[in-house]
Structures are given as structure tokens and as C-alpha cells.
Symmetry: C2
Subunit: 337 residues, 2 copies
Amino acid sequence: MATISEVAAKANVSVATVSRVLNGSCKVSEERRRRVLQAVEELQYEPNLVGRMLRKSETRTLLVVFSIMLPDLIRGIKDAAAAAGYEVILQYSPGPDTDASQFAMLYRGMADGAILPEIQIDRTLLASLYDHFTIVQCGETTNDPQAHVVAVNNEEIACQMTRYLIEQGRKRIATVGIGDCQGNPAYFSRERREGARRALAEIGIPLDRQLHLDVQTGYRGGAEAADYFLSLPERPDAIFCFQDTVAVGCMQSLRRQGVAVPEDIAVAGFDDLEICRFIDPPLTSVKQPFYEIGREAVRTWMIIHHDQPKRSIGRQVRLAARLVLRESTGGSPVVVD
Amino acid sequence: MATISEVAAKANVSVATVSRVLNGSCKVSEERRRRVLQAVEELQYEPNLVGRMLRKSETRTLLVVFSIMLPDLIRGIKDAAAAAGYEVILQYSPGPDTDASQFAMLYRGMADGAILPEIQIDRTLLASLYDHFTIVQCGETTNDPQAHVVAVNNEEIACQMTRYLIEQGRKRIATVGIGDCQGNPAYFSRERREGARRALAEIGIPLDRQLHLDVQTGYRGGAEAADYFLSLPERPDAIFCFQDTVAVGCMQSLRRQGVAVPEDIAVAGFDDLEICRFIDPPLTSVKQPFYEIGREAVRTWMIIHHDQPKRSIGRQVRLAARLVLRESTGGSPVVVD
DNA sequence: CTTTAATTTGTAATCGATTTCCTTCTATTT
DNA sequence: AAATAGAAGGAAATCGATTACAAATTAAAG
């Protein structure tokens, strides 16, 4: 790989001139500019990012730590970052709790800040990240007024979904949320459950503790939830899972035990992953605008990073989601806006 | 974030001494070492990777460009990289063809080399990558003897799967491979198809061109394949898809059109993703040892990078896969080693 | 008690880029 | 033709770490 001095030597100019040609400060004569560009071409020169980062004390790189792969969200992040001249580096953090090791890139100066999509993380660790860097969370929410969050309006859309289930004649409506290792529900689960509670309250049904539990993310968690509900003396007639993978696992376990979906128990999910259309019965879900969430998260990051005095009020963006109705909840399949 | 000079100032030593304490060259007096470690502790100092990379002209970072998310594979890569003292940065490259922009990190000096899991990529681009960097491919294969590849023995295991389908009484066995935008099949598809061909040849059935096609990766490709097969005058009685997502899409389309799986048509997949156990009927598949593939890919990278003269013979590692038999192919569900 | 060897420590160069500062050159004005 | 303003380009500092080399200190040997 060629360096700037090799380009300078080949073009017979100083390194300063090469840098000026490539970075726009346009006080370079046409003749020299041509020579430089030709040398760049011939040597296939690409400026070394490490050198630039060091000199500028800025990496122009965003760290994205994700726990579940949402292609549209990643695309939204990448597109918005590219538009702002930033690189993106991804870190995969499996498991319900994200630990400090995932942020080594941040602490060691390889990124200017981070976007945390759908990440559950210890409050203390999160606070220390906020102290040192610009951090934007998305998907997962929080009640911390200083946090920067981009997410859908969980409570509202969960309320709508629950109302829809009620319209379909369901009365014993269960919910399955996502919890971390210690069994604390994710904050988005609380919001969604609150929406469900509100819809039930509207028709005078109080919250039945038995019908609401939190599991770990993934198919297995859904299967466990189904087994639990089937063990109850009074089974639910609808199960609203706060993630599609959980709903898929739930449906599988119900079917295996001879329970018909949606006839005996309706099942709804959340996220509207592609799999929803490809399982049997197709799964009713909540479509999150993942691409827009990713894009907004980066825009928010840019705003905070450039304009914001440290540790002021958090910026919280809520986007609209919509119901996607399919066969798993009975009724006729439509998309409700 | 503190720098090495701040640590040096606080400990009242030179920066060289701080570096020596932290990098092991152990000729530092106990007294000074203690002072340095205390300053490091108090300032929460973490060496800046950008500075280190520049000085050492080495990033100790691997770029991983992936097109489909395989958690175990990523874990295998991360674990092996960490064991060798390397960082990993992920890049997501959706779509069937990976273009040069995904490798900017490499060309701009942010990584020493790359691992390419399940990546389909233009030969010319790949060759130019091999010219400049240490590259290891995994999952996807190639017939280039200079390439470094870690993968399962596709032909052998596909042959076994096809034999199993034949044992189950199937005779018209179709295959669905993965192709890129131009319709060229991925190399792993060719290998798997050759295995299927061999198994059919063993019982005297010649290859029927009509029964073998390539689609784009994902559920939709599988649905398209199913539609095509159902349009044939003589339908197949088994469909062997070379990716699980394709098989899932295929089954959905078959079911929607009233075709019973496995009674009318058996379906088998490849990869043994978690979803296989959670759809109905559970999907027979080929279990790839993804964690080991990731680990071997990194080990291979290290060997090539440190020992190898440029552009010598490629290192090709083949690992064993095994059949996972479930209801989608009839028969009794078992795992065959 | 000196001389020499061994060990520890600090100074300064280095990696590749950007940018400040200063010099050189050209063009304009009087 | 001289004076001055303005433009263009080069030399050198800078970012944060590592490390070769030189200097300083200590230990060992005579």
C-alpha cells in the first residue's frame, strides 16, 4: 500500500500539496494538481485511516453493538453514517446481557461513539459509557431522561394490537416479554405490556399476573412460555409475544401439544421479521420501521455529538409502527396503518 | 481518555517506562512499576490502539465480511482471534454479490486481513484482495488452488443426504442451489449438486436438468423454486435445498398450494439453523460445525499470515458435517453421524 | 577505591496523515 | 520601476504509542 510520501515523491511535490489536493483546500495550481492525481492513480493510493485518525484526534467511526441481526436496521445505520462521512464497525454481542468487553474499541480510541440497537445492558456500565462518549440506543428503551433513544411507540402499538385481539373475541390475553439473565424485563417489554394492560382495562379486564411472563430471547423462550401457559388451569385464548422469534417458538410448542392456532389460541408477534410470512400459520405481528430507526439513530448521534453540551437532556425519538394482520390471530389478513 | 504521557507525568517517569511496564519488557524497577500501575489505575488508562497501530505498522485486527448471520461462526472467529490477540471488526454485506466498498477498511489500513464467511464475490476482486492481503474464505468454496478455504465436505455430505432420500423411496429428487445476480451458482452449490448427482448415478438415475435450479438466497428464492417445480408436468418427490432459509420458503409455498410435506414431496435443507426445529414439519438438514469453521478459519489465517511466502499454494481445510433427520423427509427422526 | 560491566531510565525517532507557519513567487498598483 | 498585496507551496509540528539508542545509575570485579 502506497503512502502519501510516495505519492509526493512520484508527483515531485511536497506531502502538504498532496494532502491539499485530496482534501479540497483548493489553492493548488492546475499543473501540480494534475501531477498529484496521476500519481494517486498510478500508485492506487488510498489515504491511511490510522494516520488520519491519529492526526485529527477523531476516528469518524461509529461502533454498533448488536445482539440480534436486523438487516434493515444495519442498512439504515450504514447509509446514514456513510452520508455523514462515517465508517461503521459492527460488534456482535450474543446473550441477554452485554458486558464491558464489547466496548473495548470505544475505550481504546477506535470509535467516536456507539449506536446500541436492541441491546440490554447494565445501568452502571451504560452510565459510564454516556459519561465518556456519545451513545444512542435504539429499539430498547429506558426511563432515563438523559439517554438518547430512537424507538417505536411501544405502548401505543401494543395497545392497538391488544384491542385487535379483543375485537377478535379474545378475552384471556397473555403476553410474553423479554428478560435478561436476572429476569428483569427489558424496558421495551414494560412499555408493550403497559399498552396491553391499557387495552384490557378499557373493557374492564384487570391484569392477571399469571398471564404475563418474561423469557429469554429466541425460539426456546417462546416454547417455554407456551409450556407454562398450557400448564395453567385456565389457559389463555391469545398470546402476544413481544418478539417474533419468541412467537415462532411458542406456536411450535402449542402445535406439538395439539393446540390449534388460531382456533384454540391466537398468537401475535412483534418486529415483523421475514419469517412471519413463511411459517404456518403466517404470524400476525407489529412492523417496526427498522431502516428508519437505524437512520434516525445515526442522525440523532450526529446532532448530539456536534451540538450538545455534555450530559444535558436526552433526545428521545419515537416512530410509528403498524399492525400486520395474518392468519395466526384469525380474522382476515390485512395491514392496518 | 488519558494518554501515555499523562500517565508518565502522574507516575513521574518517562513514557518509555510506562510502555515498558505495560508491554512486559520487564527491566523496570519494582518501585517505578508500582507507581506506573497506580497511575494507570487512577487515570483508567487504556492504550490508544490508533497510536499503536501507526507505530507498529500492524493493526492486529481482522475484517470479517458476512452476508448471512451465523452466530456460532462469528463466535468461533471471535474466540480464535481473541486467543491470538486480534480484534475483529464485522462488516455486513447483504445481497448476493459483495463489492469492493466492503473492503475499504482493508485498503485504508484498518485491518491486516480478512475472513470471508459465506461470501460470494467477483473473481477479479477476490484475486486483487489475495494480492495485497491475507484472505481466508469459509463456507463458500472455490476451485482456485491458491485460495485459502475452510468448509465442510459438501460433496460427500450432499451425497449422503441424497442417498438417504433414495432410501426413503424418493426417485425424482430435485435440488435448489444458490446463485448470484447473474445466475452463476455459488461454488458450494456445485459441490453439493455433484454429491447429489453421484448418489443418483449409483442407482442408475441420470441427471434431469429440469430438476436442478439456482435461486437467490432467502425464503423468497425457496418459494420461487417450489412454484417452478409444481409447474412441471412430472413433479419431483423430494427437494433438497442447499440452504435452510430456501427450504423454509419452499415448504411454505408447497403447503400453501396443497402439497403435503413429506407425504407428497420431501424437503431437506442445509446448515441446520435453529429454525429447523421450530417449523412444521421440522426440517431435515445438514448440520455444519459453524463454530469450528470460524475457529479454523482464523487459525488458518494466522498460519498463512505468519509463515507463508506470498501467493504459494492455498490451504484448504475440510471439516465433517452430519445429517440431522427430522419429519420433513418422512422416516424416523435421528441424527446420523 | 577505582575500573568495568550490567542494568535501568530517559531522549528522540518513527509510523502516515493533516495543518500551521513561513517563505517564495506572481500579479497588481502607484 | 518600486512597493505591496495575494497566492501557492514547502518545512516542520502534531497526534499517541513503541523502540533504538544514548545516558545514567548501580553492581561487580580488581
